[in-house]
Amino acid sequence: MKVKALRSICVFLAVLIIVLSLSGCQNKGSNSTTGTTKAHRTLSVEVFDRGKPGQPDLNNNFWTKYINDNFGKQFNATVNFVAVPRAQEIDKLNVLMAANQAPDIAFTYNQGIVYNYVQQGGLAELDSDLKQYGSTLTKYLGDDVLKYGKFNGKQYAVPGKRTVLATNNTFIRKDWLDKLGLPLPTTADEFYNDMVAFKEKNPGNVTGIIPYGYALNATWPGIGTIFEAFKPSNLTEEQYATLQQSNNWNLPKYEQAVQYVNKMYNAGLISPNFATDKDGKMLDADISNGKVGAFITNWDGPYRTAPGDYANLKKNVPGAEIVPCDPWANDAVKHPKQGYSPNGMFIIIPKTSKNTDLAIQYLNWMSDSKNTLFLQNGQEGVDYNMVDGIPKQTGTTNSGDKMMTVANNLDYDLLSNGIELGDQQKNSIAISAGYPGYETDVENALKISLTDYYEPYYYSIPNSADAKYNAALTSLSTQMLAKLITAKPSDVDSLYKKLVSQYMTQGGQAVYDEYVKNYKTQNNK
């Protein structure tokens, strides 16, 4: 009886398969629609959904209306926005690409993903369309930015332009220094002595003082800009390109930098729970509660509205003052800081798109300074007022139909990552205007963060070993730093050698070798 039943099930399934596969064929036939270029077209464009409560419909608001009323009318097209959740953008993009459902214009910040798509033949080649329709666009971006979208010598992505290249800053409690009669530290030694003075004299009279606030970030484990004070200033380009990579473990004198942090830890100068504070929330709390004397964070960290560390600190401890300082001088008395590379997100057009030309025309339209200004600031006289050539927001874009879910509407104005007024100096002033109440502080912080700025080395070939081992090596680095910083000072040397050799065998060597190989290929050595 069982056999019989099984047989009938098999027959049923076989029939099902045939029926389904036939219906699949039918579907394909009816799907192809051909349109002439003059007909009305629909261009689909990705937009990040940041889930901000109160945000307008991302496909129907003030900004999308502007785009459709201007670009849409001019090119006889409807621009449709496809929302992609910000935190899951890569997963979602992968699914959309795999199912040939990706919008005509998609984007991501992740170079590895773009490279994967290129390797798998998923992206449209843009050279000829850029030549034909993208004159304003190529002029705006320039070769320095466009080269980031070139893979195997062909343009597969249009990189956005980053206007704020600053990354980190070191901040210190100016009111504490003043109380002790100390100047701003300008070297690593001075910084150390200041931390000792904070600990011993406790100028803020707080319980549980933390002279140097530190959180071991699990996504980007590192010791901030401290290593710049130890890194030799005479590295060759090849050394720089291949050694300052992969969590810096191969960088000459990195061990000394780690030792410096270890010394601070053993002298009780560092946040005791730094290793478990993976998201930095504890550090934010300690800064806000006025326990922390100095810390390294994003160049504008304390001034940001979220989490709002400086504003909280001022409420909790009246009279507290935080200023950026520049203590990490190297052997050439410079204060080098690696910033962002000049490209923003990678804008890509899937090969399945039938609107490659229209997509480039759209980006070309967007690169027009008039449209950039509108998309980033709104309507003059209503949403902003021009003061000395700098748009000053009136606050209308914080809520309702005009709400920008990210400053300067980066999610609609894809080409400029950060305010773009066509002039670096104007941009700097405009950036500071985005932090109400801290304008001069921010201007100063930006200046310090960009002192002796250098760009990450540009590789035209992505490192596939890095893509493979990155997650494992990042987590390993986090553990290594935690172990090394909390070790006995006498043990650091041997432990460092042991851990780094482990790191190298677990993928670090492969990553390094590929950097060396890529560097040589790129420079024809």
Partner: protein
């Protein structure tokens, strides 16, 4: 000590332990609730514990002022209800026949179903299937693919199996057909199981958001959990962005969580009676 007093002491000790356990379970809820009513300064400074500091209801004003959130809540409630109805129908109609020895090949059918518990097609094949069925960006994409859980179906089946067979035989002799037996005899006797499984389905649909994440791009079809997920996950600077991002405040996140969690919590007390007896389903094999 007399045994009576000893018993009393024992009771008090047990009550105390249970009370502590209850409190431990309650603390996270209290914490989120008080965060939602506190100022951003107090939250970031980690001053908030189980009661609000700098009491204010600004966050709730934003959440309730957001028509999209209210709409999503209502939409998710309707979706959940529809999902439970469909799921229960399918589950009952699948599990009941499988308890009958008369059904030829029932073991093979069960085996086919079991296979799906251990092997899945994976994300992209699932997506292609849903796409080819034309379900993308429709509420059906959130109902049909997950409408039957084999696991719950098996629980249901073992409950049905435990019902005395003689009851059904009696009904059969009185002239009931199979459907009548199911609806008039079996189901009324299975209320605890029905309530429990319904609740499990409802909680699943209410809390699950991954399918909505991939199948839905229209904002008016977002479930409340997907919205919450978006709000909560934008916690810090994301790779590549280097701007004063207009992040939702911690209080706003907490208020959104309360907003999305309370409705499903309110369902529990009404079903509790069934739920307690339902937990024992399948525990003892007759």
């Amino acid at each position: 000590m007399s045994p009576k007093i000893q018993n009393k002491i024992f009771d008090y000790v047990v009550a105390l332990i249970v009370l502590i356990a209850v409190f431990v379970c309650l603390v996270p809820f209290l914490y989120i609730f008080s965060e939602s009513l506190s100022s951003n300064r107090a939250i970031i400074s980690q001053a908030v514990t189980v009661y609000p500091i700098d009491f204010n209801i600004e966050a709730y004003k934003v959440v309730f002022g957001d028509a999209g959130m209210l709409y999503s809540l209502f939409y998710t409630a309707v979706l959940t209800l529809a999902f439970v109805l469909v799921s229960m129908t399918v589950t009952i109609l699948a599990s009941y026949p499988l308890t009958k020895k008369r059904l030829k090949g029932r073991n093979a059918i069960l085996l086919l179903m079991l296979v799906t518990m251990y092997f899945t097609g994976g994300l992209i094949p699932d997506y292609m299937l849903v796409k080819n069925l034309g379900l993308l960006n429709t509420p059906f994409a959130l109902v049909l693919p997950g409408m039957m859980s084999v696991y719950y179906m098996i629980i249901m089946k073992s409950f049905f199996q435990n019902l005395p067979e003689s009851l059904e035989e009696a009904a059969y002799l009185d002239g009931c057909n199979d459907l009548q037996i199911l609806f008039k005899i079996v189901l009324p006797l299975s209320k605890p199981a029905l309530a429990t499984i319904s609740l499990l389905y409802a909680v699943f649909r209410w809390n699950y958001f991954q399918d909505a994440l991939f199948y839905i791009t229209k904002q008016n079809l977002y479930t409340i959990q997907l919205k919450l997920y978006n709000v909560i996950n934008i916690t810090q600077q994301l790779p590549g962005e280097n701007a004063n991002v207009n992040l939702p405040s911690e209080a706003l996140k907490a208020a959104s969580i309360v907003f999305g969690t309370v409705p499903i919590l309110l369902v529990y007390p009404w079903l509790q009676k069934y739920f307690v007896s339902g937990i024992m389903i399948g525990a003892v094999k007759g």
